[in-house]
Symmetry: C2
Subunit: 210 residues, 2 copies
Amino acid sequence: MTQPSTPKAAKPKPAKDAPREPKAAERILTTAGELFYREGTRAIGVDEIVSRAGATKPTLYRAFPSKDHLIAAYLEGQGEGFWTYFEAAAGKHPGDPKAQILAFFDELGERATRPGYRGCALTNAAVEYPAADHPGRLVSVEHKQGLRERLRQMTKAMDARKPKKLADALLLLIEGVYVSSQLFGPDGPAAAAKGAAQALIEAHTRPEPE
Amino acid sequence: MTQPSTPKAAKPKPAKDAPREPKAAERILTTAGELFYREGTRAIGVDEIVSRAGATKPTLYRAFPSKDHLIAAYLEGQGEGFWTYFEAAAGKHPGDPKAQILAFFDELGERATRPGYRGCALTNAAVEYPAADHPGRLVSVEHKQGLRERLRQMTKAMDARKPKKLADALLLLIEGVYVSSQLFGPDGPAAAAKGAAQALIEAHTRPEPE
DNA sequence: TCCAATACGTACCGGTCTGTAACGTTGTCA
DNA sequence: TGACAACGTTACAGACCGGTACGTATTGGA
């Protein structure tokens, strides 16, 4: 009776190279991520997360020690995602830090006008949790320090007169895009970011008038 | 028996010109403001507000229809405070919009390094409440639109080539200062804001090379 | 002297929050 | 067959949430 080809597969049959269906803990993390980003981490309770993820609270708490740690894991993922697209933009112009940064601003401006855009999850989390020891805030602060460092490295590579100042100014523009997009929507000041970045880079690298 | 000067005043005796002691509703608003700014509005419950204000919940709810409206009232006050110091900075340089804006950046940079600085309450509230119809968010959005308009007015007055673009770029810097101060503390990128603003204004008003 | 308005407190409501305990079920691999 | 991992089910704890029904003291005026 057990034919080789059963019409209805009794076992899900992992099939090795087939895309395994995500485990409960993964579903929880991705579902939480979507909800956290859209509504903010304080606005979403664990009950809603597990119910939407098709899981249960004990499963959540077996995978994450607390909601705060789930938030931290979500932010880690966001940070990795940031670096992926930051370095992708930089990769378009090897050896040309000016063009690399401008490519990033291009990408940023494009993202900031997409529907549902709500800025940088890590920045938002730092606003939501002012307490210095919150696990989520720690992830955010570390990430932003890394970004500051990366920008400095690039402004040094372009021989800016004051690379640290230029990097910080660019960082201000980036963070400004993040929050002002939430305030103003698609027609906000974010569209001015790339031009401003260009002008600042220009001002810092233009040959000094004798 | 009722002498004109009683040793112990039975009545508090308003005394007309004496500084009246604040009513419970006022105490609630100011106390809520401090707590909201320091910890965020979602982190503070009404119980803590009234207990620290030496009042009770019914008093709160007689003065404000809901916690959200209390938040909105707090943000209104913050907005007024902003305009007070914005126009104070502008008032130092009548008729000179460039100097007015730079004076504001001076003031902003000074504030951003003060202990306990946590950025702009209105920006923070917009991050905390993405829902478009939240009373607090409405106050924030309106305020920021007003700021954008005011900046445009000033960049027009300085005959910038692209006044709207310049105003938006300045706004990005301002919002960047607000959030990055929370991320990085007193040694953050905020110190680069004034120089960047100066460079951008310069670039937008420098006589065009023929 | 009495009344009405004002200003406030006591005590409580139902609901939601994060987090946990105890136990059952299923699939896998040796 | 048996051990183990992964997950679900149910129920609950304890704190905290925003919000309210109702009682009370004080005051100013008729």
